[in-house]
Symmetry: C2
Subunit: 500 residues, 2 copies
């Protein structure tokens, strides 16, 4: 039974000349519909509550997203309109909540090639060009990081995945002298593997530790200084005073904490890790973008001393998610953990003949050609272009910090390092900590509900903080002022609502 002809309009498969033409036409229509919906918007989010959105989506998809019968092209365009009307608009200069950049046109467009051809980089013959492209992208990144010719790496689906794989390699490398963890696991282990990171390190460390069977308790937080950087002397002390049955597998330095953008002192931490014979991983998911900026690159001095590095190109290289990279100073690190031969994917005689993909570097099997969008971006804009975008966002953060500091009702928590600004609304009428917290949390939700400004929040020492994560290089200082004014107004409204 051949596929019903009705399915052939539009051309069913993307990767033939007619299909490609159809993808071009369909994307043109989709983006036109989306642009129309976007023009009717007034802010980074539609003005609505979560409950209102859920009811709207139910009305828009009465048979759900997997109906028995299809609605053809019009159903797709309706989805595009609804999506553009209802999603966050990260290109709105008043969107400043998360480490989630507005994506670059060139990256979004080039990513279509990954979708259309659906290459997979696990084996050579499922994506030969994509395999070669990723190899060169990794080399370019390891060169920028200051690694030598033994370096390697792999693209992963996110910073959490890159950190997980780095800790997996650390776990298995540290335990290998005693056992082949990959084969026999951790049961019956009499030592307790532990790892050290800043108290401000990303929560993915704890999650990775749980996943790897080490337990969240294996993560030993080290105190940070007043600039939110791990204190080397505290790390050294923790290592020297550890229990006899604790086996350190890694020190994790953060280059760009999520909230403060603070960067742990890598040269000092590397020296301590080396003294104790422990691997150093650098989580530069956020700060890694400084590799592209002449101005900010010095912040990453010492990163080349790390054994592995996480860098998220879907953060400070303005890629659509996902485009994270795990870089290794010595690519031999892959062999103990992910290196493998599979009869149906990469048998040995094929490997000897040069037909090898990237399966052995990855925890994934099928893996999208994410290197394409990244390569297209840098080929179009150059490292200097991307670096200039980061510099522009850094300038915005410096400006925002000054504005906050000068504002009577706002309080700057700390000076910015990269592109985040952490601050607090200071109510006119109360200093009660719980009430101040409640007002700060509620004023942010009010802004979400009104759809007028999308700002972040976090907590420091138990207190609710507000946060601007500035990743729109086209935003102006007037946009910053507008957001701060919106915070002020929402704060006043919440003070009233809280009857204080």
């Amino acid at each position: 039974m051949p596929v019903p002809p009705t399915l052939l309009e539009p051309d069913l498969l993307a990767a033939d000349p007619a299909g490609l033409a159809d993808v071009g036409r369909l994307v043109t229509e989709i983006t036109r519909e989306a642009a129309g919906a976007l023009r009717r918007r007034t802010g980074p989010l539609p003005a609505q509550t979560p409950r209102q959105l859920a009811a709207l989506v139910d009305r828009q998809l009465p048979d759900g997203p997997i109906p028995r019968h299809g609605g053809g092209r019009e159903a797709v365009l309706a989805l595009a309109r609804a999506y553009a009307a209802g999603t966050v608009d990260l290109a709105d200069p008043r969107a400043a909540a998360h480490l989630q950049p507005p994506s670059l046109s060139v990256a979004a467009a080039a990513d279509v090639l990954a979708s259309v051809f659906n290459a997979s980089v696990d084996t050579w013959d499922s994506g030969p060009y994509a395999v070669e492209l990723e190899r060169r992208l990794i080399t370019a990144l390891t060169d920028l990081a200051g690694y030598g010719p033994a370096a390697g790496g792999v693209l992963t689906p996110g910073g959490s995945a890159s950190n997980l794989q780095a800790l997996l390699i650390a776990r298995d490398t540290a335990l290998r002298p005693g056992r082949d963890v990959r084969a026999v696991g951790l049961s019956g282990l009499t030592v307790r593997p532990v790892l050290y990171c800043s108290e401000l390190a990303h929560f993915s460390m704890a999650r990775a530790a749980a996943l790897l069977g080490l337990g969240e308790d294996a993560v030993r937080p080290v105190a940070a200084d007043e600039h939110h950087r791990m204190r080397p002397e505290e790390l050294d002390r923790a290592l020297r005073t550890r229990a006899a049955d604790e086996l350190p597998i890694a020190v994790v330095a953060t280059a760009g904490t999520t909230d403060y953008g603070s960067i742990d002192p890598m040269p000092q931490l590397a020296a301590i890790a080396r003294d104790h014979g422990i691997r150093l991983h650098v989580d530069a998911a956020y700060g890694g973008g400084a590799l592209f900026s002449a101005r900010l690159r010095p912040l990453l001095d010492g990163i080349e001393l790390a054994d592995s590095i996480t860098i998220d190109l879907h953060k400070t290289a303005w890629q659509p998610a996902a485009a994270s990279a795990l870089l290794l100073r010595d690519r031999a690190g892959f062999t103990t953990t992910t290196g493998l031969r599979v009869a149906y994917l990469n048998p040995e005689d094929d490997g000897e003949a040069g037909y090898d993909g990237l399966l052995g570097h990855s925890l994934q099997t099928t893996r999208r050609a994410d290197a394409l969008k990244v390569a297209a971006t840098f080929l179009a804009l150059g490292r200097e272009g991307v670096g200039a975008m980061l510099d522009a966002c850094h300038d915005l953060a410096l400006h925002a910090a000054r504005s906050v500091a000068a504002h009577p009702r706002l309080e700057l928590t700390t000076e910015p390092v990269l592109t985040t600004v952490v601050f607090r609304y200071r109510p006119r009428t109360t200093t009660d900590p719980a009430t101040v917290d409640a007002i700060n949390g509620a004023l942010r939700r009010r802004l979400l509900r009104e759809g007028s400004a999308l700002i972040g929040r976090t907590e420091t020492e138990g207190a609710v903080q507000l946060k601007l994560t500035l990743l729109n290089p086209q935003a102006r200082t007037s946009d910053i002022e507008e957001m701060l004014a919106a915070v002020d107004a929402a704060g006043a409204a919440e003070e009233e609502a809280h009857h204080v």
Copy 2:
């Protein structure tokens, strides 16, 4: 310092009306260039060796993929031409190597919305519409699987990731009575967690076991019958005769083995797992597409008895990678492993106000809106449309099996179940097993080198096998004949080359 104006041409950011128009134009140009390159091709792969490709890419990217200065739009179009000329063309009906489908035009086009808006489903305010869409997609899938209202699930970056998370949940659920594994890990554990699956189960089980700290040895392969299905009586025996210190955490049934498409007897395996009080996971990465086909759905009878299910929509729903789903019969399963609150992402007061994303269901943090392309596909084609595609590929497999069986130089290894056909080339002049293996391996590489046909290979009981993985619903029976003729000719040429 604002971003240099040169960067604003083309419009820098995708998600504003001008940027969207530019994405539409750029995609039109990219797909036009790609179509031109594709028209000049003669097969699913370019005729070249891995070494020739590597040299070509070096010439095409003299400064690598991250040059200092950008080349603008023309550099992107050059990349599109090179990529379309050098990648696999899965829409060519002679591409039949891997479980990697040609992607649908509608899915490839709709995925642009994910790239353009760059929503992330981890928090409500990083992608509210995408969050709602994924929730409904998961519900639609769990309904189709026969799960009840307590069911839940999550999209993941691939079948390996879905299986990993399923085994993580199994590990922590099984061990929880004794310890909070998430907190304290596996060190000092006196039992050895083990899991049971078919000897033909996917290698991602072993890799997941290693990652989770159980070790690859924790995977206990159970013998399969002559139809490549796990033998229930062997599973039962393995469970009854296990060592006293072994703690079974899961039985894994495979619904669609990679090579044979064989489907383990889920009702019987579920009964045994229930008797022993163990979780059942079904890896339906491949076979899950039968949920959409009235004809093939009966093959999945009993899948609703599983505690969790992996299904890869980037296999038998023709999505661009990645679009895997992990479905849980009881979504409470997430709480012990991935459920978490993070101050900067989903603080409790926001959650109480309804502002909750999907962070707690996932091992990822930033997570692309992969539900969009899937929803667009089903909204356009309907379940029936996608099911018809699977039926068409199933028909092709049945035809191919008949042709192989009737061919004097080819030997059918087993009858197809889904859309794969495993067979062997039988040399005229030798029956020496090592030589026959070498010829089969070499003839496939010859086809790759010539670029004329892209077929798969695997091994059964130590012997090299060839494989057609038929996922092009527009392929004709004449394409099958052409591929088999190419195998025959390449086999003859290799016999000559091997001097037999």
